[in-house]
């Protein structure tokens, strides 16, 4: 199950007697060609955005030509303009608060819930399970949820962004699945030694579940960092990054949402592309860590029989 970084995913067969046929060679060429095609298909959109963000104001060619502009002709005007803008830094800070608050809240709620559901001998476990599953299966939509947030007075406060999604039942189920897989003998022996359930959770279960807790935490982190819809509904002016980015992207010549001219004399399109890139950067930096855990975690959650 462990995904090791290995040279080939498919174990190579060392059988000298079997010669590769023409069909095999064609197959290998097709596979590699497909991989190169995917690679190009992923890179072109990203590259066009990156080069757009570095485009100097006096560049006159088409975008296609812009993609091949040599790096020494690039201009960082758009980035200096963005970083010098208070609105951008505020939005970044808000995003960060939502991320930290959200992940903390989500784990504090999800881990105990998943653990409770994993205690097989618990009287009433089925009832608790039903309480968790029913809202997951029966989704009444956004208006009733909006009314709730409005009624409890969260409008305009950052927790409004992460509290409604602080337990994702799906994540909770994945975590429970993992907890169930931990050998019962470990838990029982701890209980016999006089551990309370809290101690069993903290001393036995959690140390064995670092990978799954990290993975679920990262899932939550990604969803809170990327959320723009809740932020748009519930916040007034303490906007996180995605909302600022959305406003910048939707601002046409009319400057309806933000004064693009507030960003100095860099071209509007370069500002847009630069803000796309700046919003993506934290995720790209965090990505190697995410990748390390998520492949493991996804496999734990999905394949386990």
């Amino acid at each position: 199950m462990a995904v090791k970084v290995q040279k080939h995913l498919k174990p190579q067969i060392q059988n000298k007697k079997v010669k590769l046929t023409a069909a095999d060679h064609v197959f290998n060429i097709c596979v590699n060609a497909f991989m190169v095609f995917i690679l190009i298909a992923i890179i072109i959109p990203v590259w066009s955005t990156v080069t757009l963000s570095f485009r100097p104001a006096d560049f006159l060619g088409t975008n296609l030509e812009g993609m091949f502009l040599p790096p020494w002709d690039w201009s960082t005007d758009a980035y200096t303009a963005l970083l010098g803008n208070d609105g951008f830094l505020d939005a970044f800070l808000n995003s960060f608060k939502i991320l930290i608050g959200g992940v903390a809240c989500a784990l504090i709620l999800t881990v105990p819930m998943a653990y409770v559901l994993s205690v097989q001998s618990l009287p009433g476990r089925k009832i608790i399970n039903m309480i968790v599953i029913i809202p997951y299966v029966f989704n009444v939509g956004m208006i009733p949820a909006y009314l709730l947030v409005k009624d409890i007075g969260l409008i305009g406060h950052l927790p409004a962004v992460f509290l409604p999604g602080a337990i994702s039942t799906y994540n909770c189920i994945i975590m429970r699945q993992f907890f169930v897989g931990i050998p019962n003998e470990l838990k029982e022996s701890a209980r016999i030694d006089g551990c309370t359930e809290l101690q069993v959770l903290f001393r036995i279960i959690l140390p064995l579940s670092k990978a799954i807790v990290m993975t679920i935490g990262l899932y939550y982190g990604v969803s809170f960092w990327n959320d723009f819809f809740n932020a748009m509904l519930y916040l007034n002016d303490n906007y996180p990054l995605p909302i600022l980015l959305r406003n910048i992207l939707l601002a046409s010549g009319m400057n309806e949402y933000v004064e693009v001219s507030a960003f100095g004399n860099a071209p509007v399109n370069a500002i847009k592309a630069a803000s796309v890139f700046m919003s993506a950067i934290p995720m790209v930096i965090a990505y190697p860590f995410i990748q390390k855990y998520f492949t493991k975690g996804t496999l734990l959650g999905s394949v386990k029989g």
Binding site: K7, K10, N269, S302
Partner: protein, 319 residues
């Protein structure tokens, strides 16, 4: 997915003993209940109060009167929705997008998984694997920015290429002909790597001796994919397919909400975006909730059916 370990039914125990045993069990698990308390309160507030609030689907909701104070009007809101001209177009668009995404991204992610598995160049494989998963973690706001740089008229790279080849520039995002394709292809671009993971996992579970035997028997690479690899991951494909069936009414709100504009409402509007506009922009709370509830009830039956089917056919289910 769930293995129930119910105790074996032994000789019938007298009722009184059963009850005292239950009491003892409850007492023994006191601290577990304490642990469950805060999450359960959270569930009551954030998941069950909205269900309670959804009664306004049957009411003429006035913000001043509140959920309880608004007058009942029976099925009026549902009638308005079903009789309106947008009813069928909303359903059609929603199903079209979710089925279309499945048709494009499922084969693509299976092929990608097989290509990653079979790739003979480790460097290429690692780069593709890393890059293909990445877009899944980008928000649709960022995706919209990337699509603008790529597709926008006048400043998109795509249109430059079209003009270079002698064609006419197209505003892909506000043209009713091209918009659905932008939605489907951008979704495939973003999610194909991520959806391939589960297939890669299944591929890595294949017994290598099968390939070895097939090789000795003279099967070439194509035949090995056809007769070993595909049958081996078929159950996973079926599971994914069935579980997707359960969410067929979720066509990707965030994506469409970011990409669409009034020009393409006719082909872009799905149930969720319509509920948003009707409820939160035009304050038709009752009508919007009714539509949300309509979708919720259908969605529930679909999920339960998919779950049941999955358990029947593949022995794995979500709950």
């Amino acid at each position: 997915m769930k293995i129930s370990r119910q105790g074996t039914a032994a000789a019938p125990v007298p009722k009184q003993m059963q009850r005292s045993k239950l009491r003892r069990e409850i007492a023994r698990h006191r601290s577990v209940y304490v642990l469950a308390l805060i999450p359960l309160i959270y569930y009551i507030i954030f998941k069950y109060v909205p269900i309670w609030n959804s009664q306004i689907a049957f009411k003429d909701f006035m913000a001043i009167d509140g959920v309880l104070g608004s007058p009942w009007i029976g099925l009026e809101n549902f009638r308005t929705f079903i009789n309106s001209f947008y009813f069928w177009s909303l359903i059609r668009n929603t199903v079209m997008y979710s089925v279309g995404k499945l048709l494009i991204s499922l084969p693509l992610s299976v092929i990608l998984a097989i290509a990653i598995y079979e790739c003979t160049r480790p460097g290429l494989r690692k780069v593709v694997q890393t890059l293909a998963y990445l877009p899944h973690f980008l928000s649709w706001v960022i995706m919209y920015g990337i699509l603008l740089a790529l597709l926008a008229p006048g400043d998109g790279v795509f249109n430059d290429v079209i003009e270079l080849c002698g064609g006419k520039a197209v505003d892909f995002l506000s043209n009713t002909k091209t918009f659905p394709w932008v939605v489907l292809i951008s979704d495939a671009w973003k999610e194909m790597g991520w959806s391939a993971i589960i297939f890669i996992a299944a591929l890595m579970g294949i017994d290598v001796s099968l390939f070895e035997a097939a090789m000795v028997e003279g099967a070439n690479s194509w035949q090995r994919v056809r007769y070993i690899t595909l049958p081996a991951i078929a159950p996973v494909i079926v599971t994914v397919l069935i579980l997707k069936l359960g969410t067929i009414l979720d066509a990707g709100f965030n994506q469409i909400f970011m990409l669409y504009s009034p020009q393409v409402y006719a082909v872009g509007d799905i149930i969720d975006t319509w509920v948003y506009r009707q409820g939160l922009l035009e304050f038709e709370f009752g009508l919007a909730t009714a539509v949300g509830l309509f979708k919720g009830v259908f969605g529930m039956f679909l999920v339960l059916f998919a779950n049941w089917l999955s358990r029947k056919l593949t022995d794995s289910s979500l709950f």
